[in-house]
């Protein structure tokens, strides 16, 4: 029996359901668990706060339309820097398919040295490279991970590689979850050709085919406990603009939270769960990322080519990963300094701009706090070493652009004019207040971390919360440390593993 995707906005009155498993969040992790459990014969309900849009309709959206219908809060979500730390714009999806709809498609397994650290130093003995390998294999098959051919590179990436070679380091082709990518560079605003195998095209259809019922426009507010275990969730139905409508109650024998590293902690707090350890909402890592723009005499038109095609781990020892990137022309224009004629003169040069980015493999320092409304209040105190790494990253990217022949670079520093090589050479990046550095993050992780004891972690190695049996967390919040690489594939593999662990245990009786 197949299931269906329902629009909560069209449900009249309240919604009251009973099921085997209820999953909160339909993004990268929730979709995997939904498919695995439904295919194993369990009755699954997925509740998603965002709306449901058909892939073709999303693909046809302009970036601003995508921002308001598919992104969370129009991307105005940020972590506030404390001390010498930047304000970090943290980007997330809010629709059926979650952030998976917005990825650049970059796929990395969790690096082996990380898994060795987790399984030895942190004692997470179930997370060895060998034990996780089958899950990576299965997810990679399901989302069609392939190597980006060199022919798909944009002129921007080709130029950057030329500079890198001259400085003695190389770029490696990225792997992405795509099929028939035409290199339209629109991945972050949903692929126009459904060439990116996001979960709305892969795991969610599988889940529905196996009988899962997915409800869009359903915001869960709390987990319902009974008799010392989780027995359901409650919340509200929403209209198309996110305003509250009817009430929502789903009774379930097992509850799975997959609401992301920002929203799963809020659900725990609202439900009075996880107070004991004091680690809920703490230890957040972000992989702060930035990009440097090189301006060339030649036309680059860097938006022709795969959005992300190559990376470099040449600076891994300094905890830096360099990744090719591009942004819509309108956003690219916005990164130019100034206002009025001076600004427009720079915007007129966008055809001549190349973009390359990188991220810091950060030590943490992020923390969620309960806000006044529904959004958390998020702070980020950047470690000193990470602040130094920011300067180093900017310097590497800028030097590489000059080696590639750029005449000027634009650094991610608010209001800073374009610099020529001599101006860059005299600039002391460490002395620029971090609050002036333009940083973004697409990878919040670690706010409900996994561990081996309840005093220092929120979930055990199966993803079950220490405080409330029957309640599982499967999203990026469970990662015990940052990864230094894009996390989606790792999150999905860990979710697949958690799903199979759930299947190993019989479902408790319904109450």
């Amino acid at each position: 029996m197949t299931g269906e995707i329902h629009n909560g906005r069209s449900v009249a009155g309240d919604l009251d359901l009973s099921t085997d498993v209820v999953i909160v969040g339909s993004g990268a992790s929730g979709a995997v668990v939904a498919a695995e459990l439904a295919e194993a014969g369990q009755k699954v309900v997925v509740l998603e706060e965002g709306g449901h849009h058909l892939p073709a309709a999303m693909g046809a959206m302009r970036p601003s339309e995508s921002l308001r219908h598919v992104w969370r809060a129009g991307s105005m979500t940020a972590a506030i820097g404390i001390g010498d730390s930047p304000v970090i714009n943290v980007m997330m999806g809010r629709a059926v398919g979650g952030s998976s709809l917005l990825t650049g498609g970059v796929c990395f397994r969790i690096p082996e040295h990380k898994l060795v650290h987790w399984s030895t130093t942190l004692g997470l003995t179930e997370l060895t490279p060998a034990k996780l390998e089958p899950y990576f294999d299965a997810v990679e098959r399901a989302i069609h991970v392939e190597t980006v051919p060199e022919t798909a590179r944009s002129r921007s990436t080709v130029l950057y590689e030329d500079g890198a070679r001259k400085l003695g380091y190389r770029l490696t082709p990225l792997r992405r979850n795509t099929r028939g990518c035409e290199g339209r560079s629109k991945c972050n605003f949903v692929c126009p050709h459904q060439a990116k195998a996001s979960v709305d095209l892969t795991y969610l259809p599988r889940a529905v085919a196996a009988g899962a019922e997915i409800y869009a426009d359903c915001r869960v507010s709390r987990v319902v406990p009974h008799g010392g275990r989780a027995v359901g969730v409650s919340g509200r139905l929403l209209d198309a603009d996110g305003h509250k409508r009817g009430h929502l109650m789903v009774r379930a024998r097992r509850v799975v939270l997959a609401a992301s590293a920002w929203y799963t902690p809020l659900l725990l707090w609202n439900s009075g769960i996880g107070r004991g350890s004091g680690v809920v909402g703490r230890n957040m890592t972000l992989h702060p990322s930035l990009r440097v723009i090189g301006e060339f005499d030649e036309e680059v038109r860097g938006w022709h080519g795969a959005l992300q095609s190559a990376y470099s781990d040449a600076f891994l020892a300094e905890r830096l990963t360099l990744v090719s990137a591009f942004v819509p022309t309108s956003i690219l224009a916005a990164t130019m300094p100034g206002a009025g004629p001076a600004f427009m003169a720079r915007a007129d040069r966008i055809r001549h701009l190349g973009v390359f980015g990188g991220m810091i493999h950060d030590e943490g320092g992020g923390r969620l706090h309960r806000g006044l409304g529904r959004e958390p209040w998020v702070t980020y105190r950047m470690a000193r070493a990470d602040r130094a790494a920011l300067s180093r990253l900017i310097r590497i990217l800028a030097d590489t652009w000059f080696a590639a022949g750029a005449r000027r670079v634009y650094l991610p520093v608010f209001g800073l004019e374009g610099l020529d090589p001599s101006a860059l050479a005299t600039l002391n990046l460490d002395r620029i207040p971090a609050s002036r550095i333009e940083c973004t993050s697409q990878h919040p992780l670690g706010t409900c971390r996994m561990g081996t004891d309840r005093a220092h972690s929120v979930v055990n190695q199966d993803g079950e919360t220490w405080d409330l049996p029957g309640l599982y967390i499967v999203d990026g919040s469970t990662f015990p440390t940052s990864l230094g690489v894009n996390p989606q594939l790792g999150i999905m593999a860990m979710a697949a593993r958690a799903a199979l662990r759930m299947l190993d245990r019989p479902l408790p009786a319904a109450v």
């Binding site: 601003s64 921002l67 129009g74 105005m76 979500t77 022309t329 009025g340 004629p341």
Partner: protein
């Protein structure tokens, strides 16, 4: 003129002229639509940023607020200066959203050399 339109007029002005009235009107409609669907949080953050630019930015530059009442050349001068002030984050947030929406007008996109028809709309 609304604060948002006054900022857009200054931000996107060229040496010879500000953007046409029809382009600004279309921008205004699209911006309102955008914030109607973005949710309360985004509206609040954006409203705060606009407030900072409308009232605090002129004061910071020694001008009498609100920004929308200043002549075009003064508005451009205020915005350029604010980019180097402690109020810069507000300007950057507004600039990012404004550029995203303004350059989705096919004419505005083509003017700056963006040949990406799927990202813009002919008005």
């Amino acid at each position: 003129m609304s604060t948002a339109t006054a900022i857009a007029e200054a931000l996107f002005a060229r040496p010879d002229a500000p953007p046409s009235a029809s382009r600004l009107a279309a921008f205004d409609v699209e911006l309102r639509l955008h914030f109607r669907h973005c949710g309360a949080f985004a509206r609040t953050v954006f409203g705060l940023a606009l407030f900072v630019l409308a009232w605090l930015a002129p004061l910071w530059c020694g001008r009498l607020p609100p920004l929308a009442r200043l002549p075009l050349a003064r508005r451009i001068a205020v915005l350029s200066k604010i980019e180097h002030s402690p109020l810069q984050a507000a300007f950057f947030a507004v600039k990012a959203i404004f550029c995203l929406i303004y350059f989705e007008d096919r004419g505005a996109a083509v003017e700056i050399g963006a040949d990406t028809p799927a990202w813009s709309v002919r008005r």
